[in-house]
C-alpha cells in the first residue's frame, strides 16, 4: 500500500527546522502501515536547507536504520527544491530515494 504526503498542505514554502521536525512526526503517524511513502513536493516554491535536513534527510536516515518500516520516494519537486533536498542527503551521507 502506498501513501502520499502532500507538503503543499503546509504552505508554498517550507522554511525551518522545527517545521521539518513537526511534519516528519506527522507523516510517520499518518503513514501507518504503508509500504511506500511518496513525499509530494508539488506546488512548493522553495525549501530551506534546514527544513530539508530535518524532514527529508532525517527521515531517510530513519528508513536506513529501520526506525520506520516504509520506503520513500520524492515526487513533484521543482529544480530548486530538488537541489536543496539532494544537498541535504549528501550532507548526511545517505542515499537519495527515488525521484519520480
Amino acid at each position: 500500500m502506498a501513501y502520499s504526503y502532500a507538503l503543499a498542505e503546509h504552505g508554498k514554502t517550507l522554511a525551518t527546522r522545527p517545521l521539518g521536525q513537526e511534519l516528519r512526526t506527522d507523516l510517520v503517524q499518518k503513514a501507518g502501515s504503508a509500504a511506500v511513502v511518496a513525499l509530494d513536493f508539488s506546488g512548493i516554491l522553495s525549501t530551506s536547507h534546514s527544513f530539508a535536513d530535518e524532514f527529508v534527510a532525517r527521515l531517510v536516515e530513519e528508513v536506513k536504520t529501520g526506525e520506520v518500516t516504509f520506503s520513500i520516494n520524492i515526487s513533484g519537486a521543482s529544480p530548486d527544491v530538488e537541489r536543496v533536498v539532494l544537498k541535504a542527503l549528501e550532507r548526511r551521507r545517505v542515499d537519495a530515494p527515488a525521484l519520480v
Binding site: K12, R17, P18, L45, S48, H49, S50
Partner: protein, 231 residues
C-alpha cells in the same frame, strides 16, 4: 539596517514601560519610507513600491515561515525586475531569521526588513537584527579558542561549524551563499556585526570571499545586512 535598529530601539524602550514619541521626517519622500518600513509600529503602514517587507518582529519559528514565504512571493509575483532573486532571498530570510530566534535567545525577538533598491543597480537588501548573545559567544561554546570576535564570525560562516554539539547543524550561512550562486546574481555582499567583530562576505564568482574588518565599536546581539544585486 537603520530601520531595523530604530524599530528595535523604540520597541525595547516601550517594552521597558517608557514613553517614546517618534516624529517622522519632514521630507515627504523620507516620511513615506519611514512609515512604509514600519519604523514606528504605532503609525499606519502605507504601501510603497520598494518596501518588500517592513520591519517585522519575530519571536516564533512560525513567524519566520510567514516572512520568508511572503518575501519570496512578493519578489517573484510582484517585482519582475528583481524576481530571479526570490529563491536566494527566501533562503536568507529562512535560515538567518531562524538562527536569530534559535541562537539569539532574547525576549525582544528578532527583527527583519527587506527592501528593493533600483539605483545604481537593481538589488534587494535584507536587514536582520537581534539582541541575543551574538555569534562570537555562541560559537565559542564549542570553539573557545576562537577568541577574536571577527574571526569567530568568519569561522561560523563555514559549513558544519556550529556552537551546538550537533554535527548536522551549522548549515545556515553556507546554504544562504549557495542559493545566491545563480546566473541571476551579479554580486552579493553580507556584513555581519556582532560583539567586537565585523565580517564581510562577498559573492561575485564561484566561491564567497571572506574579509575580517575592524569594528567601530562593540555591538550587543547580531546585525546582518545582505545585499543581493541582480545581474
Amino acid at each position: 539596517m537603520f530601520a531595523v535598529r530604530l524599530r528595535m530601539f523604540i520597541d525595547w524602550h516601550r517594552g521597558e514601560g517608557r514613553e517614546v514619541k517618534v516624529i517622522p521626517p519632514a521630507d515627504p519622500r523620507a516620511e513615506r519610507v519611514f512609515k512604509a518600513m514600519s519604523m514606528d509600529p504605532l503609525l499606519p503602514v502605507p504601501p510603497e513600491n520598494d518596501t518588500i517587507m517592513p520591519v517585522t518582529c519575530m519571536r516564533e519559528f512560525g513567524e519566520v515561515e510567514e516572512v520568508a514565504e511572503r518575501t519570496q512571493e512578493i519578489l517573484e509575483y510582484q517585482l519582475p525586475d528583481v524576481s530571479p532573486l526570490g529563491h536566494a532571498a527566501f533562503m536568507a530570510m529562512s535560515e538567518l531569521c531562524a538562527n536569530a530566534i534559535d541562537h539569539g535567545e532574547n525576549d525582544l525577538g528578532a527583527f527583519a526588513a527587506v527592501r528593493r533598491v533600483t539605483e545604481p543597480k537593481r538589488q534587494v537588501t535584507i536587514a536582520i537584527g537581534d539582541l541575543g548573545m551574538g555569534v562570537p559567544e555562541h560559537i565559542r561554546r564549542r570553539y573557545p579558542e576562537w577568541s577574536d570576535d571577527g574571526w569567530a564570525i568568519a569561522h561560523a560562516t563555514r559549513e558544519s561549524v556550529s556552537g551546538t554539539n550537533n554535527p548536522h547543524r551549522g548549515i545556515g550561512f553556507s546554504s544562504v551563499f549557495e542559493a545566491a550562486l545563480t546566473s541571476s546574481l551579479h554580486a552579493g555582499r553580507m556584513d555581519i556585526l556582532s560583539a567586537s567583530g565585523f565580517c564581510r562576505i562577498q559573492t561575485v564568482q564561484e566561491s564567497p570571499k571572506i574579509e575580517v574588518l575592524p569594528a567601530a565599536r562593540f555591538r550587543r546581539g547580531t546585525w546582518i545586512t545582505y545585499d543581493l544585486v541582480s545581474a
